[in-house]
């Protein structure tokens, strides 16, 4: 008997009527969203639109009203592992390799795998030579690469990226973007918040546009940048941003 072909993409994380409040401020309002395996989802929108909040909610870092459901991976039959890359990575005042090992320790990775995973991750981001150096002495681009190595060493199924290149110079931005594309090519599901629509166009397969905590559009990258199906507010956002971010 042959296995049936998968007709639809596999859901990983589902949000139903998700709402997040910070005091009296509603940061996200009744969001319905399903993240599928292998997707590269870009969250776009102006400042304060709720991109980072949605990213954190998907990752499970924030409590919220409504429903957040993590679906078991098939055929692995386990919950997806997530890792997050922040705009300004927080690195401990320890050598580079310890920053990767700490992540492995926190995730309960068996100790005999630490050396190998740490070495592979640092090699992948080109930081092997700097393994003994204090992490905080690295440049901004190197620090972001180290944060990517720390996340990648966890062998995540979903990688959340919160404006990962926003504070980098153009050269470091290109380096980190290339690494993200490489990670995506491995089949890891990506969710990325970004102001950079050019980056969204290059890296994403699906785009979600937010405004004031509401979901304006949820389209494939081609349809989003085609612009034809966009609601007025999303079209205005696209029009305003594309002039600066090509």
């Amino acid at each position: 008997m042959t296995a049936p072909a998968q007709p639809t993409p596999q859901p990983l994380i589902g949000l139903r009527r998700a709402t997040v409040r910070f005091g009296s401020t509603v940061a996200l309002q009744t969001i319905d969203l399903t993240l599928h395996r292998g997707e590269r989802l870009a969250l776009v929108g102006s400042n304060g639109s709720g991109k980072t909040t949605l990213l954190r909610l998907l990752h499970g870092l924030l409590p919220g009203d409504g429903e957040r459901r993590a679906h078991a991976l098939q055929p692995e039959a386990r919950e997806p592992v997530g890792a997050m890359l922040f705009q300004r990575p927080f690195l401990l005042r320890l050598p580079v390799h310890w920053n990767v090992r700490v992540g492995l320790w926190l995730r309960g990775v068996p100790r005999d795998q630490h050396d190998g995973r740490c070495r592979d991750a640092l090699e992948r981001v080109g930081l092997s030579r700097l393994a003994q150096r204090p992490a905080r002495d690295l440049s901004g681009g190197q620090q972001q690469r180290l944060a990517l190595a720390r996340a990648w060493a966890l062998q995540p199924d979903i990688l959340y990226l919160d404006e990962p290149t926003a504070s980098l110079d153009p050269s470091a931005k290109r380096e980190v973007e290339a690494l993200i594309a490489e990670v995506a090519a491995d089949g890891i599901t990506l969710v990325m918040s970004t102001h950079n629509l050019g980056q969204a166009k290059r890296l994403a397969s699906r785009v979600v546009c937010l405004e004031a905590g509401r979901l304006l559009a949820d389209l494939s990258v081609d349809r989003f940048f085609g612009g034809g199906e966009l609601p007025h507010a999303a079209r205005q956002f696209l029009k305003g941003e594309l002039a600066w971010n090509t």
Binding site: R56, L61, G82, F90, L92, V102, R107, Q132, R133
Partner: protein, 258 residues
């Protein structure tokens, strides 16, 4: 004229019937002479001061760091009240601590059977009680700042509150050393608690601050001030050594790379 000091030292000294400036300059000279003569009694007193306050800080650090970390990392009922109490205890007078420990350790007290009143151990306990609120409050503040910077990222890596606090204590180890130095400064400079529970017994529980208090009560202000300068010089030297270690510690990994 030569003064036979309480500490059994031969110190060249003029009588203290001078204006303030003269007393200060005389005290500085006396302090230099005390250090230069290397008297055993003086060094024994200095060593006991360092030993008592150092031990008190280590003991207080065990409780204070754990308490401060717990208050920073965990959320629980009554936390605000505990923080308020802790901050209030920062103003705890050392004499009150001395009295409380005295009542605990005196013959009729609940711990009287230990027989440690008027011993250096009692002084260590009293100073520990004194520094725990200080260490806890400063550790909490240090960790709250660190958690604001990196708490979310550690949680995203899977850290629970305890693990995050532990990692951030390692991360802020140089800041923590400054906290301990502050506590050490508070302990070694206090006189009320050690006077009450130690009794200022010559050669047994006499430390620098109780010696200073004694000389002041005897009216020998230049010698009292001189002992104060000696105390400051010793603590200053320790601070400088720890500062050097911090500096070397911060530089060492970078140098290893070069």
């Amino acid at each position: 004229m030569r003064l036979r000091a309480h500490l059994d030292l031969d110190i060249p000294c003029r009588r203290a019937r001078h204006p303030t400036v003269s007393v200060l300059s005389e005290s500085l000279g006396t302090a230099a002479a005390l250090l230069a003569q290397g008297d055993r009694t003086l060094w024994h007193t200095v060593a006991l001061s360092l030993q008592v306050s150092g031990s008190a800080c280590l003991l207080g650090a065990g409780f204070g760091i754990a308490l401060g970390a717990a208050l920073a990392a965990y959320r629980f009922a009554g936390q605000r009240a505990l923080v308020l109490l802790l901050n209030t205890l920062l103003a705890l007078p050392s004499v009150v601590v001395g009295l409380m420990v005295y009542l605990l350790l005196s013959r009729q007290g609940p711990l009287g059977s230990l027989g440690i009143l008027f011993t250096p151990t009692a002084m260590v306990i009293a100073q520990s009680v004194l520094v725990v609120p200080l260490i806890a409050a400063l550790t909490r503040r240090l960790l709250l700042s660190a958690l604001a910077e990196g708490g979310d990222q550690l949680r995203s890596l899977g850290a629970g509150p305890g693990q995050a606090a532990l990692l951030l204590l390692v991360h802020e180890r140089f800041g923590l050393l400054t906290v301990l130095l502050t506590a050490f400064g508070r302990a070694i400079a206090e006189v009320g608690a050690v006077m009450i529970v130690g009794g200022n017994i010559d050669g047994v529980t006499r430390v620098m601050t109780t010696s200073i208090a004694l000389e002041t009560s005897k009216g020998d202000l230049p010698l009292a001030l001189a002992l104060g300068f000696v105390l400051l010089a010793v603590v200053g030297l320790i601070n400088a050594l720890i500062g050097l270690l911090q500096w070397r510690g911060a530089r060492a990994p970078a140098e290893a790379m070069a």
